[in-house]
C-alpha cells in the first residue's frame, strides 16, 4: 500500500564495510524520525553505557514518512545516537537538520540511514538511488579529509555527478534529475573529535547539539551524500494536495502582509545581515515559511539565528558578516563557542586576569585583544584554535563545561551563573519563566529547544488564552497546566506555586503532555520546530485558531493512510519518550542528576550573578489569582530547591516511574508494550519500582 514509506532503511557498517538494509516494516510501529531512531538504537547497541566515541555507537539519520512529499515543513532529518557533549554523562541524544537531505533520502528509495562501526581510514558514503558505496576520503582517495564543509560538498557534487553542468538533466542512478546531491558532512572540528562539532549540510543547515560532528569524526566518516530519482508513494495524492492548498491559504500572504501574520518569510535570519546585503529568502524542501537567505556575495548563505550574532564583540558590518561562515565551515556548535550565548565567559575570565597569555589559564594561541576588539583576525584565530585543538582551543573543543572543570573555575562560576549553564553542561536557549522548557530539558538529555509554550498569546485576554490551551491539551484539559505562579522573591507565594503553579501536579501534566507531543508529533513526523511551535494558537489565523493538531493529522493520513487522533499520537510519543528514558536509565540516570546548577535556585542579584529568568519586566506569564487569570511579569523567577524536588516526585508518579530513582518501572513499561525493555533494565539493575 502506498504509505509514504520506501520499504527499506540503509544500514552501513564502517568496520566491516557491510552495506545492508533493514525492512522498514520491522519498525513501522515507531512511524519514523525519532521513534524509529530510538527503537533501532535500542536493538543495535546492546551496551548502552558505551562512550559516544566508541565504534559501537550507532548514529541514525531518519526522515519521516512525510519527507519528500507535499506535507509542509517536513524536510528535516532526525539524528540520534550517544552524544559526546553533555556533562558529566553524554546522554543518548538527538539533533536534527533541514535542507534537502531528508527528501533526497526518500527519493533515493530509503526510509533512513543507520551508521555503525569505524572505518580504518577517512571515508565518505555515496548513495545514488539503491547504489551505495563507501569511498576513500583521504588524500590517497578523494582528498576530502581536512576540507571545510562547503568545499567538501562541492567536491562531492563533482564526484557524484561527474562534474555535471547544471541545470541540464543529469542521467544518474535509475533515472534523471536536475537536483544536486544532498550532502551532510563534518568540518575540521569534527575531524578532530570536537565534542561541540556539528554536522553541516548546505550553507547553514546543521545538527548542532550532541557533538555528532565529533561522533562522525570518531568513525572516520567525513560525509554522507544522497541523490535520488525515485518517488515517494502517498496514500491519497488528492487529499494531500487539497490539504496543502488549504493550509497555504491559511498562512501568510506575501503579497498582502498583515501585522502579526503567521511567521513571515526570512524572520529567522536576524536581519542585521539581511539589511546590509541584497538577498532572497530561501527554505528547506517542503517549507511553508522560508526562514533562511542567500546573499549577493554568496557569504553566510542560509545562516540564521545564533549563527549571525555569535561574534558579539564585532562592531562593524563587514566583520559581523565576515565571521558567520566560520562556524559553518569548521562545523562548530555556536552554543558553546558563541561569545554572546556563553555569557562572554572567556572574556570575563580575561578581564578578571586569570585567563590570558601566560596566565593561570593560558590563553595561547588566542589573540585576546583582537577578540575583545571584535576583529576578523580574532574570530578566525578563535575558531581555528578550537577546531584544531590548539593550545586553549584543545580545552574549548571539549565544550565550555569541561574546559571550566579543567581550569578549576566551574564550581564557583556555577554558583553565580557566570558559567551560564543550567544543566548537563550545555547552554540552554531559554528556560524561564516558561518552566516547561527547563523541566523538560532536565528530565531529558539536552536543551529541548522546543518553543511551543515559550511565548504566550498576549494578544488574547489571559482567560481566553487559558481556555484555548485547556481545550487543546487533551487528555488532561487542566487550565492550571499554564499557570506560572512561582514562590516569589520572598517566598510568600509558595502555596499557590505548589497548588496550581510551577510546582503543581498540573505543571507535571504539562511537561508530560509536552514530552509525548514532541516525541511523536514533532520529532517522529519531523515537523520543523520553528514552524510547528507556532501551531497551537496562531496570532495570524482567523479567531487565532492554530493549525495543530489538525494539519498534522490531515497530512499524516493523506501520506501514510494512518488515521491517528491527537491522543493516539501522544500515546505513541509516551512510548517513545519512555524508551529514551530507559536508555538514559541504562546510562546511569537517576533523579539525583536531574538538578539544575546552583545559580538557578538563586535570585541572582549583584555583580556577576545572572538572573535565571533573564529579568524581563514584560507581563507575559499567565497566573491565576484565585478568581481570575492575568498576565504577570515573571522575569525574576528562580527555583526553590525543595519545591522542585517535590515536583519531580509528582512528575515521576504521573509517568509511573520509581519516585526514589526516576527510573521507569515494569508495569509502566509493559503497559506501553515495552516488556523486553523492562527485562533489560532489570538484568542491568536499572529497573525502578513503584513500591
Amino acid at each position: 500500500m502506498a504509505n509514504g514509506y520506501t520499504g527499506k532503511i540503509l544500514r552501513v557498517n564502517l568496520t566491516t564495510n557491510e552495506i545492508s538494509s533493514i525492512d522498514t516494516s520491522e519498525y513501522e510501529q515507531w512511524v519514523g524520525g525519532h521513534g524509529m531512531g530510538s527503537a533501532i538504537f535500542w536493538d543495535l547497541v546492546p551496551d548502552k553505557t558505551i562512550d559516544g566515541f566508541d565504534p559501537r555507537n550507532v548514529v541514525t539519520l531518519m526522515p519521516s514518512p512525510l519527507a519528500g512529499t507535499l506535507a509542509p515543513c517536513t524536510g528535516r532529518t532526525e539524528v540520534q545516537g550517544i552524544g559526546v557533549h553533555a556533562y558529566p554523562t553524554a546522554w543518548f541524544t538527538r539533533s536534527n537538520f533541514g535542507g534537502s537531505f531528508a527528501a533526497q533520502v526518500k527519493w533515493a528509495g530509503w526510509d533512513g540511514i543507520v551508521v555503525e562501526g569505524k572505518a580504518d581510514k577517512p571515508v565518505w558514503i555515496s548513495i545514488v538511488d539503491d547504489k551505495v558505496t563507501i569511498n576513500d576520503a583521504s588524500d590517497k582517495g578523494d582528498g576530502l579529509w581536512g576540507l571545510t564543509t562547503s568545499k567538501t560538498q562541492k567536491a562531492i557534487w563533482d564526484k557524484v555527478t561527474n562534474k555535471h553542468r547544471y541545470p541540464g538533466w543529469l542521467a544518474i542512478g535509475n533515472g534523471y534529475t536536475t537536483q544536486r546531491p544532498a550532502v551532510v558532512c563534518i568540518g575540521p572540528a569534527g575531524e578532530h573529535l570536537g565534542r561541540i562539532a556539528t554536522l553541516v549540510h548546505g550553507g547553514g543547515s546543521s545538527a548542532g547539539q550532541g557533538g555528532f560532528g565529533g561522533v562522525f569524526g570518531s568513525k572516520n566518516l567525513k560525509a554522507i551524500s544522497v541523490l535520488g530519482t525515485g518517488s515517494v508513494p502517498v496514500a491519497d495524492s488528492k487529499a494531500l494536495i487539497e490539504a496543502r492548498v488549504a493550509f497555504a491559504k491559511s498562512q501568510f500572504d506575501i503579497d498582502n502582509p498583515q501585522d502579526g501574520q503567521f511567521y513571515m518569510p526570512g524572520q529567522g535570519s536576524d536581519p542585521p545581515v539581511a539589511v546590509v546585503e541584497s538577498n532572497h529568502v530561501t527554505g528547506c524542501t517542503s517549507c511553508a515559511m522560508p526562514c533562511r537567505r542567500r546573499y549577493v556575495d554568496g557569504v553566510c548563505n542560509e545562516s540564521q539565528c545564533g549563527e549571525v550574532h555569535w561574534y558579539i564583540t564585532a562592531t562593524t558590518d563587514d566583520v559581523i558578516y565576515g565571521t558567520i561562515d566560520l562556524v559553518q565551515e569548521y562545523g562548530l556548535n555556536i552554543s558553546d563557542v558563541s561569545i554572546d550565548d556563553n555569557n562572554r565567559y572567556l572574556l570575563q575570565l580575561y578581564k578578571e586576569g586569570i585567563l590570558g597569555p601566560g596566565k593561570q589559564i593560558d590563553s595561547s594561541p588566542l589573540p585576546m585583544e583582537e577578540i575583545i576588539n571584535g576583529t576578523q583576525a580574532g574570530a578566525e584565530a578563535y575558531i581555528h584554535a578550537i577546531a584544531y585543538r590548539e593550545g586553549i582551543g584543545n580545552d574549548l573543543a571539549e565544550g565550555l563545561m569541561r574546559a571550566a572543570q579543567k581550569w578549576g573555575t566551574a564550581e564557583k562560576d556555577l554558583e553565580t551563573g557566570r558559567l551560564f549553564m543550567p544543566g548537563y553542561g550545555i547552554m540552554w536557549h531559554s528556560w524561564f519563566p516558561a518552566v516547561y522548557w527547563a523541566y523538560g530539558s532536565i528530565l531529558s538529555d539536552r536543551d529541548i529547544n522546543e518553543h511551543d509554550f515559550s511565548s504566550m498569546p498576549t494578544y488574547l485576554p489571559a482567560d481566553e488564552a487559558i481556555k484555548r490551551y485547556t481545550d487543546i491539551l487533551s487528555p488532561y484539559n487542566d487550565p492550571f497546566m499554564m499557570d506560572y505562579n512561582w514562590q516569589g522573591k520572598d517566598g510568600t507565594n509558595m502555596a499557590a506555586a505548589i497548588a496550581t503553579g510551577i510546582y503543581s501536579e498540573s505543571k507535571a501534566k504539562l511537561v508530560a503532555w509536552h514530552r509525548d507531543f514532541t516525541r511523536f508529533w514533532k520529532q517522529t513526523l519531523n515537523f520543523c520546530e520553528s514552524f510547528q511551535s507556532k501551531g497551537l494558537i496562531s496570532g495570524a489565523a482567523p479567531d487565532y485558531k492554530g493549525f495543530t493538531p489538525g494539519m498534522e493529522i490531515n497530512m499524516l493520513k493523506a501520506v501514510t493512510g494512518k488515521d491517528l487522533s491527537l491522543i493516539d499520537g501522544l500515546n505513541l510519543g509516551r512510548k517513545i519518550y519512555t524508551l529514551d528514558r530507559a536508555i538514559w536509565a541504562l546510562q546511569g540516570r537517576t533523579r539525583d542528576q536531574e538538578v539544575f546548577a546552583p545559580w538557578v535556585y538563586k535570585p541572582g542579584t549583584g555583580e556577576g550573578e545572572v538572573q535565571p529568568a533573564g529579568g524581563s519586566t514584560k507581563k507575559n506569564a499567565p497566573m491565576w489569582d484565585g478568581s481570575g487569570w492575568s498576565y504577570q511579569a515573571a522575569g525574576d523567577m528562580f527555583l526553590d530547591w525543595n519545591a522542585f524536588e517535590e515536583w519531580k516526585t509528582k512528575f515521576y508518579k504521573l509517568e509511573g516511574w520509581d519516585t526514589k530513582t526516576g527510573q521507569p518501572t515494569r508495569p509502566t513499561l509493559e503497559k506501553l508494550g515495552l516488556k523486553n525493555v523492562a527485562d533489560e533494565l532489570e538484568a542491568k539493575g536499572r529497573l525502578g519500582s513503584l513500591v
Partner: protein
C-alpha cells in the same frame, strides 16, 4: 508537404480523435491548414471537412471541399510555421522563489500520484553556495509560440490542445517514447520530461489533466504549482510573454511590501 511517415490509408481518410489522424499529423508537423501556404506541395488536395468528423472545435479554416490548392513549387522547407498561441502561460519570479520545491512535489503528485521531483514538469535548480540571484532558477515550460516539441513529434502526441486554450500537451496514450521532444525543446533543462518507468514523455499542460487533483486546469483554471507556492512566485498569465530570452517568463512578481522583509523590490 508529404511526410514519409504518413501511410497511404492515413493520407486518404480522417481518423478518430486521439489516434494517429491525418489532421492531427498535419497539426503535429506544424503546418497551418487554411490560408497559409503548405510549402513544397504541388497540386495536392488537402483533405477537407475533417474537423466535424474529429469532433474538434474548428478554429482552423480548411480549404473548401474538392478545391485544389495551387502551391508554389520551390518554397523553402525550413519556413517557420506558427500554430495558434496558447491562451495561458506560467511566469515565475526567481528572486521571489524560496527553493522549497513544493511546486515540484505538487506537480508530480497531481499528474502521477507520487511525489518525485524527476517527474515534475516545473524544475527548480539551485546551488546553496552561489551568489544571489544566481543561486536559484525556476524552469517552467514556456508554452512556446513556436513549439518545437509539437512540431517535431512524429505521432502528434505532443500537440496543441485547441479545445483547451491551445495549451501544448503530450497525450500519454499516443506517445511512443521516441524522445524527439526531449531534444527538440531548446531550453535547458528541456521542459519536456522523461519518465523512465513508463518510458513516455510529458510536459506542463497547465494542469489540464491531473487525475490526482480535483481542480480544473488550463488557461481559465488552476495550476497545482501556483496554488501551493508559499511565496506566490509562479503565476498564470494570459498575454503571450516576450519570446526573447527569459525576460517574458522570469518577471517581477514582488509587491513593494517585500522591502519590509529585506527582500529586493526589483
Amino acid at each position: 508537404m508529404v511526410d514519409e511517415n504518413m501511410t497511404k490509408e492515413e493520407s486518404k481518410e480522417p481518423k478518430e480523435p486521439r489516434t494517429f489522424s491525418r489532421r492531427r499529423f498535419l497539426l503535429g508537423s506544424g503546418l497551418v491548414v487554411g490560408s497559409a501556404v503548405a510549402a513544397g506541395v504541388a497540386g495536392t488536395t488537402l483533405a477537407p471537412a475533417t474537423a466535424e468528423a474529429n469532433g474538434d472545435a474548428a478554429t482552423i479554416a480548411l480549404a473548401p471541399a474538392g478545391e485544389v490548392v495551387q502551391q508554389p513549387v520551390a518554397a523553402p522547407q525550413t519556413a517557420c510555421v506558427a500554430v495558434a498561441q496558447s491562451e495561458g502561460y506560467l511566469v515565475v519570479d526567481s528572486k521571489k522563489c524560496a527553493g522549497c520545491l513544493n511546486c515540484m512535489a505538487a506537480c508530480s503528485l497531481a499528474h502521477e500520484g507520487e511525489a518525485n521531483p524527476s517527474l515534475s514538469r516545473i524544475q527548480i535548480v539551485q546551488d546553496t553556495f552561489q551568489r544571489y540571484p544566481n543561486d536559484l532558477q525556476q524552469y517552467q515550460c514556456r508554452q512556446c509560440t513556436s513549439p518545437m516539441c509539437v512540431q517535431n513529434c512524429p505521432t502528434g502526441a505532443c500537440h496543441v490542445d485547441t479545445a483547451n486554450g491551445n495549451v501544448r500537451v503530450i497525450d500519454q496514450a499516443v506517445c511512443i517514447g521516441c524522445q524527439t521532444c526531449l531534444s527538440s525543446c531548446p531550453q535547458t533543462p528541456h521542459r519536456t520530461i522523461w519518465n523512465p518507468t513508463t518510458k513516455k514523455a510529458s510536459k506542463c499542460d497547465l494542469c489540464l489533466n491531473t487525475p490526482n487533483w480535483g481542480e480544473q486546469g488550463g488557461p481559465t483554471g488552476k495550476q497545482a504549482c501556483v496554488e501551493v507556492c508559499p511565496m506566490k512566485a509562479i503565476k498564470l498569465v494570459t498575454d503571450t510573454p516576450s519570446q526573447m530570452e527569459t525576460v517574458g517568463y522570469n518577471v517581477n512578481l514582488r509587491k513593494p511590501s517585500v522591502a519590509d522583509l529585506f527582500m529586493d523590490v526589483d
